[in-house]
């Protein structure tokens, strides 16, 4: 393995502590990064409570006893995924700012849009199946 390859691997491997390398960025960007993390955290909590609400508060779908769980459980699991991904993105963004690099592209909006669209389709299917039975 060449020294350049080794150096690239070391450089591309995020350290455990995002504050361990580079220089302190403009505090306004640090705060903005933290606010973005918090906004995604609230989205994660909203997904969890939406999933719980679907399972616990919606009346059962006639003829589809598993309907509420099919809709609610994925939302709760996705809430946890969003929370963890938000933290990882905060680490990546903080590291990029400290190293004066362009910010990495976020996967979160696409991921959220895909999951919400999928849940809408599944909801439609459950309602349709319930109406037909």
């Amino acid at each position: 393995m060449s020294a350049a390859t080794l150096e690239a691997q070391v450089t591309d491997t995020p350290p455990a502590d995002p504050a361990a390398e580079g220089t302190e960025p403009d505090p306004r960007y640090t705060f903005a990064n933290e606010r973005t993390f918090l906004a995604w955290s609230r989205t994660a909590l909203a997904l969890v409570v939406a999933g719980l609400g679907v399972v616990q508060l919606l009346p059962p779908f006639p003829g589809v006893p598993w309907g509420r769980h099919v809709l609610g459980v994925p939302l709760i699991v996705f809430g946890a995924v969003v929370a963890v991904t938000a933290y990882l993105e905060w680490v990546r963004n903080q590291r990029a700012m400290r190293l004066r690099r362009p910010l990495p592209q976020s996967v979160m909006p696409k991921l959220l849009a895909a999951v919400v669209a999928a849940m809408a389709v599944i909801s439609g299917v459950v309602v349709l199946v319930s109406a037909l039975r």
């Binding site: 705060f31 909590l45 409570v49 609400g53 459980v73 699991v77 946890a80 004066r100």
Partner: protein, 104 residues
């Protein structure tokens, strides 16, 4: 220029300098971030209230996360582990919600 970069050519020492890293109050950013922490704490309270209807103990535990989160937002932003704690709490809440959803 990448985000966070500082162009010294734009510096005006006669004004309140937002690029001053030693400035304890960079504009309203700190205030906006503090409000974001407050909203997050309120979100925990809302989740706790919903869970409270089905599981009192679990709901009370999640409700306790609200003042803790609010207090975390008031601590210095250099303090390590704050965001990890929020992430861990949300994952724990999701796990608890999953158990409530499946078992109740």
């Amino acid at each position: 220029m990448t985000p966070g970069q500082h162009d010294p050519g734009q510096h005006d020492p006669g004004q309140d300098d937002p690029w001053d890293l030693d400035d304890p109050d960079p504009g309203r950013a700190r205030e906006r971030t503090s409000l974001a922490w407050t909203r997050t704490a309120l979100s925990f309270a809302a989740v706790g209230a919903v869970v409270l209807r089905k599981d009192i103990i679990l709901g009370l535990i999640i409700l306790c996360a609200a003042p803790v989160t609010w207090q975390l937002g008031r601590l210095a932003h250099h303090l390590r582990g704050r965001l990890e704690l929020v992430t861990g709490t949300i994952v724990a809440v999701a796990l608890a919600a999953l158990i409530v959803a499946v078992t109740h």
